[in-house]
Every structure is written in C-alpha cells, then in structure tokens.
C-alpha cells in the first residue's frame, strides 16, 4: 500500500489527508511537532480572550483520526532524505514514505532588531506562542504595557487580545495609515479611528529601533525611530510571516522564500509536493502573490493535491480571490480585487461609500473604461460569496452590481439595510440613475 506522509497538521496538510482518505485506501501518516491534533490557528486569539478553550479550536474530535485511519506522529522532522525516501526525525527515528507532502506553514518574521530574542519578546503563530503570551501577559498587573510591532492582521489581533485583559497597548505601525498597502485610504482611515476608539495607542509611521533589556534580560522598553522610549513588559513582533522551510536547506528541494512548486504543487523532486503557507508558486497565479499565507488557499491546495495523489492529476486553479478578517469589532470581507492606492492597476477606479453614523463602508473597484466590476471590500456589511463569485465570473458591469446589491446582502435578519444610501451616492457621483431591485430568491439560487 502506498504510504503518503504529510509534514504539518495544519489546514493544508489535514485537508489533503481527509480528501486522500475519501478517495483512496492509501496509508496516510501526518507528522507534526506543534500539537497532537489539528487545531484552528485562526482561533488562537479567542482562547486567550476567554471566548473558547483550546479544545474548542479543534475541528475534529480525537477519535476522528483513528476512525479514518490517519496515523498521527508527533515529532519534529530534522531532514528529508529524498534519495532513500525517508524522513529523519528529531527523536532519532526514521520514517519512510512513498509520497511526501510538505505542509509546514509559516513562522513569524524577525528583522534582526537588537533585543528581539529577549524574554518577553514574542510572535503569535503557534500554540506555544499562545502559552507564552499567557505566561508573559496574564493580566494588567504583570504586564504593565505591551508594544506591538507591525500593523498587519496578526498585530491587530494581538492588540485586541491584550486589550481584552485591559492591558495598555502601544501599536507601532510602519505605514502612515493602518494596512494601507492592502486597503484603500478611506477604509484604512476608518480602521485607524476604530483602533483609537478601542483605546489602543496607535503610532503610525513609526519603526522599532531597539528593544531594551532590564537586569534580568527581560524586555523593559522599546525605542522608536521617532526618538521615543516606551516602557513595556511585553513586545509582540507581528511584522508578517515567512515560510517555515529552514530544515529543508540541505535537502535538495528547490527553495525560494518558500518551497518552489509548479501549478501541480510538485516540487523539483518527484513524489514531493508542497501546499499551504510554505509553498511558493514560480509565478503568482493571476493577480495572486506567489506565496499566499491564508487559510483558504491552504485548504484549496489540499483539496487539489489530493486529486493528483489519487490519480486524477489536477492543476491548482484557485477561483476568484476572496478573503475576510475582523478588526476588533469590524468585520471585513472582500471578493475579487480591490487594490490600495499603492497597488492600484491602471484602469482601476473606485467607488467608496461610508455611512455617516455607523462604522460601515464599502469600496467597489471597476474598470474605468469598460465599467467591468473587479471587486468589492465591505466593512460592517456581510455579503454573499456565491453572488459575487458569479458576478465576477460573468464579468458583470458595476451598474449591474449596484442594481442587484440586495441579492448579495448577507447580514442577519432585521439589520438596517444600506443599499439605497449606497446606490444613491453612486448615482450622484457617476450621474447614473440606478434603482436597487428587490431581493429575489430566484436570482440568488439560479445557479448560473
């Protein structure tokens, strides 16, 4: 029986394993060093905040693996010996494979800041990081202030976590406005306001220079390029992540920043594949980046690779881009492409609407010339994935999107509706006279 070995029990590895099991009888082993069982990394914050216990982050009950004949090995892989098709484990054991799937995820970036390895300085990626944060910042008496460096999604999550225990937080963000490399200015500005409303001390356009130690070798303060020295007990480093591939340096597997793969998710060595955060496409697919470190793409690569492994060779062809996040109390969803001013394409034009009372806004991107709808960002309004996916496939024009916007609304029942305000703003900005159509089940379910 062919033995499929997967390194990494994250979403990518586990999805691949589940789908291989569905389609075949192959022997499947997952080797992973972090935890005994698969858990949802995206939910780590909720454990610290007390919304959930760690076991709630595990999507499958513990009996699931045995029942589905997925063998679990808790061990760190030191090296891959592809000539002999075996893995060298840190505990001295070996493990043979017929096919190997690398799904080793990411690790937090550190940019060589002085003091980055002091006690009290940490990232937020793994279960161990969570435990460490619990030890470093159990309450506001132990942790008088925390400084978070790096204004991405994990940074703001970490700020929210610490604030849930009333710990004062200073947030150093390199950009002049939060996440404005990704978000258009209006949205980024709204988040800046929201961060301040949550009593987070936001320092925009500020870089970390050095982390200072106290006599016990613990972080006691940071200095910034603005000349400030900020006293603190904990420093969170959240300046992005990069593929977790150091153990493969000598393996002969081609590496760039991540593990280089082709569209079939194959590495340069036969029978070795890579998926999830650690995989790097030779070239980005469509407008995607070569490395996509998000949950959904890890899952999609897993779904796709399982087909190939089970004999139905399939290219990784992700559909329309989508993503979502939550900034404190603000839910964010995106479908298609809406670029920030920095990354905006030549023909891209934006329509931005923001409510005058609530923290709610949307940005719709469309082609200046053809009016083709390119994408939408929404804050504080939920949208229906299926509808936008269809509109993107059908290359609808932006007027169509506004006219049928009600079909796409996914907010809970009885919520205030904003389509009329949105459309009338659009009409007055672009001289159109669109009237929003009533929501229609028929259209929503007409699977085009």
């Amino acid at each position: 029986m062919e033995h499929i070995v997967i390194i990494g029990n994250g979403i990518a590895g586990v999805t691949a394993a589940r789908h291989i099991r569905k389609k075949s009888d192959k022997r499947i082993t997952i080797v992973s060093a972090e935890t005994d069982y698969f858990f949802s990394r995206t939910a780590l914050m909720y454990v610290y905040m007390g919304h959930m216990k760690f076991e709630h982050t595990q999507p499958y009950e513990n009996w699931f693996w045995k029942k589905n004949r997925i063998e679990l090995v808790k061990a760190y892989v030191n090296a891959v010996d592809h000539q002999n098709k075996k893995l060298v484990l840190a505990d001295g054991n070996f493990l043979n494979y017929d096919k190997l799937i690398l799904a080793t995820g990411s690790k937090p970036n550190k940019f060589g800041w002085p003091g980055q390895d002091l006690a009290g300085v940490q990232g937020l990626y793994s279960k161990q990081d969570l435990d460490q944060l619990e030890a470093n910042a159990p309450d506001k008496e132990t942790c008088k202030r925390a400084v978070i460096v790096g204004g991405g999604l994990i940074g703001i999550e970490m700020a929210e976590m610490l604030r849930s225990r009333k710990i004062p937080v200073t947030f150093l963000v390199r950009e002049n406005s939060f996440w404005n490399g990704v978000l258009p200015a209006g949205e980024s500005a709204m988040i800046n306001e929201h961060i301040l409303e949550h009593h987070i001390d936001l320092h925009l356009g500020t870089n970390l220079v050095e982390i200072l130690a106290d006599e016990n070798g613990r972080a006691r303060a940071v200095t910034t390029d603005k000349g400030d020295t900020i006293e603190c007990s904990v420093v969170g480093l959240t300046a992005g992540v990069s593929p977790n591939v150091d153990f493969l340096k000598e393996s002969g597997i081609e590496l760039g920043r991540g593990i280089k793969v082709n569209r079939h998710l194959e590495t340069n060595i036969s029978d070795i594949y890579a998926i999830g955060d650690c995989a790097e496409q030779h070239e980005g697919i469509g407008q995607r980046r070569p490395i996509e470190a998000v949950w959904y793409t890890g899952r999609m690569m897993g779904e796709t690779l399982a087909q190939t492994i089970c004999g139905n060779k399939t290219e990784y062809k992700p559909g329309h881009w989508f993503n979502s996040a939550k900034f404190l109390d603000l839910e964010y969803q995106t479908y298609g492409w809406v670029f920030s001013e920095r990354g905006m394409k030549e023909n891209e034009q934006h329509f931005h609407w923001r409510d005058d009372k609530e923290k709610i806004c949307i940005t719709i991107a469309f082609n200046k010339d053809t009016k083709q709808f390119l994408g939408i960002n929404t804050f504080g309004i939920r949208m229906r994935h299926e509808i936008f996916d269809r509109w993107l496939t059908e290359k609808c024009d932006v007027n169509h999107v506004l006219e049928y916007l009600k079909d796409a609304n996914f907010d809970p029942e009885f919520y205030s509706k904003y389509e009329h305000k949105i459309v009338s703003t659009f009409n007055s900005e672009f001289g159109t006279s669109i009237t929003p159509k009533k929501k229609s089940w028929k259209r929503i379910f007409s699977n085009a």
Binding site: S40, G50, H51, K53, T57, Q307, D329, Q333, F410
Partner: protein, 526 residues
C-alpha cells in the same frame, strides 16, 4: 462603574438571601375555626387525624414551616396507615401531605411576613431586581463598543463551571425541588405575591403563582442583559422582545385574568405535547364544563398542534416557537444565555439526544393515547396498565424532574437547553418538520469559514455548526432552535438564518467555493 456593580451584587445577594431564608422563617398558628373550615372543605373523615392535629398543632405557635409541616405529615401518615390497617378506606385522606401542609400553612401565617407582604416583597423581589439591574445596566459602559461580548467567558467562575456556577446550580435545583415536591416550604413566598395575585385573578397566590411571577421577573431582568450584550444585533433584540412578550402576556397575565372571568386557566401558546396534560381527563372535563370558551380552547389546542405549529415551522423553522414564543425557550434565552457554551458538541451527545428526545415523544404519545382511550371508553386501564399511573409517572419523571429540576437546574453545568435538546416532545415533533419539510436553513457563506469554532462553542443546542460550515454546507438540523447566536458570534460573516425555497436547502459539498470551478463540479456532483 465597578463600584456600582459591586454594590449591585451585594444588594442582589441580600435580596436573594432573604428570599432563600424565608422558608425557615415566619410564625404560624392554626386556630380552631380555620382548622374546622379545612376539615369541612377537604371532607376529612379521619378522627385520628383531627384528634392528632387538635392535640399537636391547633392553637400552637410554630416558627417556620419545617416544624409545622413535619407535624402535619406525621399526623396524616399515621392516620392513613391506621385506616389502611383497619380496612377503613373511606376514612383515608387522599390529599398529599405536602399539599395539606401548604393549605394549612397558608391559612395560619400570623407573624411579620404574613402581615407585611408589601415590605417583604420589596426586601426580597424588590431589592433583588434593583441589585441585579445595578449590576447589569452599567455594562452599557463597561462592555465598551458594541460587538461580541464573550471576553473572559472561560475565565470566570460563574460561566466556566466554577464555584459560583455550582452555587447557582445548587440554588436552582433546590428551588425546583421545593416547587415540585415541597410546596409547603413555599408558603412564605406566596405571601409576598398575594397582593399581585389578588389584583389579577382575585385569589390568593399559590406556589405556582410564585413561580410564574418569578419567571417573568427573571426573564425581564435578564432580557435587559440580553439587550445590552447584543445591542449590535437586531435579530437578538427583536427575538428577546418577542419571548418576553409571550411569556408575560400569554403565559402569565391572560391565564390569571381568565380565572378572574370564571374561565379555565389556559396558556394559549402552550402547545401539546409540551402541554402534556392537555388531554388529561380532568382538563377535558373542565374544558367541556366551561361552555363556549372551553370548547374554543379545546379546538384551539388541537388546531395549534396539528396545523398552526407545523405550518409555521414550514415557513419559518422551529425557531418561531422555540426561541420566539415558548416559555422554556424564553428562560433559556435570557437566564440561560450566560451558560449556552456548556452544551456538549460531541457525536456521543448527539446520539444520546436522539434516543432521549424521541423516547420522550413516544412516551408522551403513548400516554396520551391511553388517556384518550380511557376517556372515551370510560375505563381506567389499558391492557391491564393503569392509565393514571402512567400519567403520574410522566408528570413526575418528565414534567417535573426532567423539564424542571434537570432542565433548568443544570443550566450552569450542561448548558441552557438541556430540556429543549434532550427532553421536549414538542421540540422533537417540530424537529421532524424542520428537518424534512421546511424553508428554514442556516446558509453557509461559500468558502469563508476559517474553522475557528465560535459558532459550535456558543450553539446552545450542541450542534457542531462548524462541521457543516467548514465544508461549505448549509445547516439543516432538526434540533436547531434558530437562536441566531452562531451567526452573531461568527467573526467571518459565514452564517445566515434564512427562510428560502426548499430546493437547494441541503447542499452537500466536498470542494468549497473559491477553488477551481471544474474541480468543484467534478467532486460535488451528487
């Protein structure tokens, strides 16, 4: 704010303490004329009992019901035992001893409590309410900006099965034990609400009135908490208002007013088989004896269960009843909300759930079948089994122990829907309709789920919502009561409760939206 809240807790605990102490307090003195009245009213023929009472109880002063009620039950048990031994069945007293004690206790209260009902009401209910509100209302400020408020749920003793939770458990269970099995100890409580009862139905309050009044009070106070906690979520606000309305108007006020108007006591929204004694002989008789209104209730009760309930479930899902109208659901959604995370999500629990709830439904149906058979054929047994003993068994095991003591008492430990999930026969019936013939579903938003588990954790019905959502599958489950909290707590906007066309309601998927279109079609075709 913290100080106000702490003062609130202190005041609340004081009120609760006084309330809890009441069964042990008060003075009771049964005078001769009252005793004679009771003897005539209850047609007591046992001279042993009367003699015993004359000697040990009448004219004596007792402190607290415990002493008094033990004297009464001793007298009653001894008298009955003697009569049975002597085969004097005519003299046996069929009133239960706790009932007899409540009756006597209620008419012989003399002390401060019985004479200062208003003040005592204020010292228990009144300051309890004030204290609770002082604790709850500052949350408008302390909880910060509107949004999901689950910070620290698993850090606090009260909501993480710590000692406070066990204390609440102990209190609730004891309260229900008194209610169902020791009503004589509730006599002092009934005094507190006598004025209210008299103004509504014209009668002094019994222990069920205390329960009804308390139920409404607790729901109202905890609804304030719901309004504050979910102030960003209109669905929760509308729904909470709805359950509160149905509890106060339909379950509490209308039946009391009907009694004042010489009509039968009836809760128009309480559908059979949750209302398990609807077809009991005594109820049918009383309805048939009450003229037009009785007949109307009889027809309404049948139509409610056979037509209104399923048709509404077809259009809106069982939520219209379980989390918008029902009293049990109402308490679960207000008092029980802080405990919703404790419902077990394991596959094992789901198995237990299906056996238990369907078992209770079968039990209820069989019992009712026997009841009706006995009623129409005027026999008291079916296949040699006494109908009344089956009814008593159901009332005790299901109606009292399961629905009350376990259903509510175990909130802090097993979550707030123990009864609704494992026991309610009406829920089982609605569940069939919801699962097989309904427009209701929880739609999963394409591929947006990140498997975080908030939805499953906070599902009070123990549904592993994530198991569906992470597969891109809609949630169509018979047990879902449509509370909407899974949708509320989802950080990615994945879930939406909606009523739509039946076609496509259940959508099994393997490959999720967002991936390769060809692959989706290849694998998902079923």
């Amino acid at each position: 704010m913290k100080t106000i809240q702490n003062i609130g807790i202190a005041i609340f605990l004081l009120g609760l303490g006084i309330f809890a102490a009441l069964p042990f307090l008060g003075s009771f003195k049964l005078d001769q004329s009252t005793f004679d009245e009771i003897v005539t009213e209850k047609r007591i023929k046992s001279e042993i009992f009367t003699a015993d009472m004359q000697q040990n109880v009448v004219g004596k002063e007792f402190t607290g019901m415990i002493d008094l009620s033990s004297k009464i039950s001793k007298a009653l048990e001894y008298a009955n035992a003697t009569h049975v031994k002597n085969k004097e069945y005519k003299k046996k007293i069929y009133t239960k001893s706790s009932e007899m004690a409540s009756l006597i206790g209620k008419r012989s209260g003399t002390g401060y409590i019985a004479n200062n009902k208003g003040i005592m009401w204020f010292l228990s209910f009144g300051i309890g309410i004030i204290g609770a509100l002082l604790f709850i209302i500052p949350q408008v400020v302390t909880l910060g900006k509107k949004g999901i408020k689950n910070d620290g749920v698993y850090h606090q003793s009260s909501t993480n099965k710590g000692w406070i939770a066990w204390l609440v458990f102990f209190f609730l269970v004891s309260f229900y034990m008194v209610l169902y099995f020791g009503s004589q100890y509730a006599v002092n409580w009934t005094y507190l609400v006598d004025p209210i009862s008299e103004s509504l139905s014209g009668n002094p309050a019994g222990h069920w009135f205390v329960y009804g009044f308390m139920y409404c009070t607790i729901m109202s106070v905890m609804a304030v908490r719901m309004y504050i906690k979910y102030r960003h979520n209109m669905y929760q606000i509308v729904r909470t208002t709805s359950v509160l309305f149905f509890q106060i108007i339909f379950a509490f006020l209308i039946p009391e007013i009907m009694v004042r108007l010489q009509m039968p006591y009836y809760d128009f929204k309480n559908a059979f088989p949750l209302d398990y004694d609807f077809f009991f002989q005594w109820n049918l008789k009383s309805l048939l004896d009450s003229g037009g209104i009785g007949l109307f209730i009889l027809v309404w009760g049948v139509v409610l269960t056979l037509v209104i309930v399923p048709v509404m479930v077809y259009f809106f899902g069982k939520r219209w009843y379980c989390s918008w109208v029902c009293g049990c659901g109402g308490l679960a959604e207000t008092l029980g909300d802080p405990y919703r995370q404790h419902s077990s999500k394991s596959l094992f629990s789901w198995k237990v759930e299906r056996w238990l709830i369907h078992g209770v439904l079968v039990f209820a149906v069989v019992m009712t079948g026997m009841t009706l058979y006995s009623f129409f054929t005027e026999t008291s047994t079916v296949f040699g089994i006494k109908t009344s003993s089956i009814q008593n068994l159901y009332s005790l095991a299901i109606g009292s122990v399961f629905a009350g003591v376990i259903g509510t008492g175990f909130y802090p430990i097993f979550g707030n829907r123990v009864w609704c999930r494992f026991g309610c026969p009406l829920a089982a019936y609605l569940g069939f309709v919801q699962r097989f013939k309904s427009r209701f579903r929880i739609t999963t938003n394409g591929g947006q789920c990140i498997s975080c588990g908030n939805c499953s954790t906070y599902c009070e019905q123990g549904i592993d919502v994530r198991a569906y959502a992470q597969k891109g599958e809609n949630i169509v489950r018979s047990s879902c009561v449509g509370c909407g909290v899974c949708s509320a707590v989802c950080p990615r906007g994945v879930l939406k409760l909606e009523n739509g066309p039946e076609e496509g309601r259940i959508n099994p998927t393997e490959i999720l939206l967002g991936n390769d279109v060809d692959l989706m079609e290849l694998v998902n075709k079923k």
